[in-house]
Symmetry: C2
Subunit: 348 residues, 2 copies
Amino acid sequence: MKKKYTIADIATMAGVSKGTVDRVIHKRGKVSKKAHEKITKILKEIDYQPNLVARNLKKNKTYRLLVLIPDPEKDPYWAPCLEGINTASQEFQAFGVMIETFLFDPSSTRSFNARSKEVLKNKPDGVVFVPLFYKESLTFTEYCKKNSITLATFNSSINSNNARSFIGQDLHKSGRVAGGLLHMLLPGKKHLAVVHMDEIYQNAIHMQEKEKGFRDYFDGLEQKHQIITHKIPEKDIRKIRKSVRGFLETYPEVSGVFVTTSKAYLLAEALPETDTRIRLVGYDLIEKNLECLDSGHIDFLIHQNPRQQAYLGVSYLSEYFAFDKKIPDNKLLPIDIITAENYTHYLE
Amino acid sequence: MKKKYTIADIATMAGVSKGTVDRVIHKRGKVSKKAHEKITKILKEIDYQPNLVARNLKKNKTYRLLVLIPDPEKDPYWAPCLEGINTASQEFQAFGVMIETFLFDPSSTRSFNARSKEVLKNKPDGVVFVPLFYKESLTFTEYCKKNSITLATFNSSINSNNARSFIGQDLHKSGRVAGGLLHMLLPGKKHLAVVHMDEIYQNAIHMQEKEKGFRDYFDGLEQKHQIITHKIPEKDIRKIRKSVRGFLETYPEVSGVFVTTSKAYLLAEALPETDTRIRLVGYDLIEKNLECLDSGHIDFLIHQNPRQQAYLGVSYLSEYFAFDKKIPDNKLLPIDIITAENYTHYLE
DNA sequence: TTGTAGGCGTTATCAT
DNA sequence: ATGATAACGCCTACAA
């Protein structure tokens, strides 16, 4: 059972005053060599841990933390993020961290630029954001760096050392997971397809990473598989149906499809009602996908846990401000496999 | 932007002193009706949130939190719990919560009794424990209730209102999940088996719940399935092999097996090396099961996340002590589906 | 270079 | 019934 030592304790032990101990702890200098040595020795011996509560109380600062994410009204994928942000917000407001959320239109770089300017105008202590647009995000991070605003990103990473933290998923791995699942569902079959659906905004890199992982999985097998890539940029259900019909007619042997976006339900709806069902693996627990799980039109979904991503991003920065905690550089969340039977628990 | 109100602020607003405000907040009485009304009104208006940091500093108590779990040396399933406990321990020691762990032999009620007595001798403020043995655990919780020791349980629940919190999984649901997986793997096949393996200590109820869920899933299908239940209590690999051979000979049509314990690898090892592979779904990310995932002898594992269970148990009580947070009654963790491709991320 | 004297917000005690 | 005051541990400013 360890005793809790305070600065006063240490001061007594070293025969000096609290002020001197404090100077040593914070390396403020103006301490004689003798005193310095003595105090450092004691600090090590007792493994001094400062009382974070007292430190925080003294600082008595309130921090402003802003979150900049896509608007869930434009894409329901982001809805759980708001929950995660609210949870974190409630947790940390008692510790003086004030959190506000700004939403931008994920299909418009203009919207991103406008909202990010607003964010900066607020002069926050920290920002958590989704760097959906590469170029614009880089500009943003540079500005933050200059104004010493602490940054964390989630969902997408950005190749910049201006951001302190990234929270997301290993997309290549998640493609492999999808490959493994389809392989299990279709042991004999050798014809598969990767479909990139309806992605108006720029996450082409995301989809490519997933496809690479998917192909990587099958490349590692002894038995060789033929994998077709098909892009469906349309949003209109009739056009999609036409596109799907076309590619199924060209490759009638295809028995399993991996949809690299959250729009697997669109493919499911567009499939012809034949008895030889196409096996389908997609992404994200949005309402329409869940319905397809229930009806059996989608077999597996991969969950990227946007809620947790947002929650962690906000928590990391909050703990950094409130308790001087170190911010983890990278946090890769597990690649959750979802079926009709287990999705409820992931909706929280 | 909300201002942070302090008790001093409220006192000024109400034209009274801090002491009176404090008495109202803590319902200590000895306050005139007039003052009481005025202060309560203000409290509501400004939605007063006490500064938890200051409160904690003032209390300046150190809490003792003991954890009582099975020894990972006897059953590797419990190893991740220690990690979870350590993580929580590091997080909360700065807030004055001291955590210690006691291990018992999961095959011996005597061991449990002995260790739980030790725990009680320590007069802790709170205990997090795994109620593996029903009767003994009840006695334990009653004693804790009497001595006002706050309790949280994980892994197993116990039907007692003496424990404040339970963290675990919906076992019935997890059986359903297993059913869904085997059904996907074996669309045409109609002969399956539930195998209860090598459970020396009492979690028969666990296994039954899982089996019920599994059968429940198939009962809900149009196509009727035949499901055999088989028990293998032996630990010796040769006896197991004999038992497995016996039941496969009796039911040669069985093509999928659901093992309700963490011992699926034992079944995998005992299976004859025939080409028509039996599909296998089991529980828990222990080393030997992971090897079987890699080699393809096990198809899916269900992850019960013991690490997180332990972490949450300790966190809940720590936050309760340190910050007066409410303890959630029940926390059901998601039923994670694990394949050879995604297990690494779950090992942390 | 060193020591001392407040103060952060809350709570407990003591006097009024 | 109420108000003043000290204390929790840390930090800062100022005095020595």
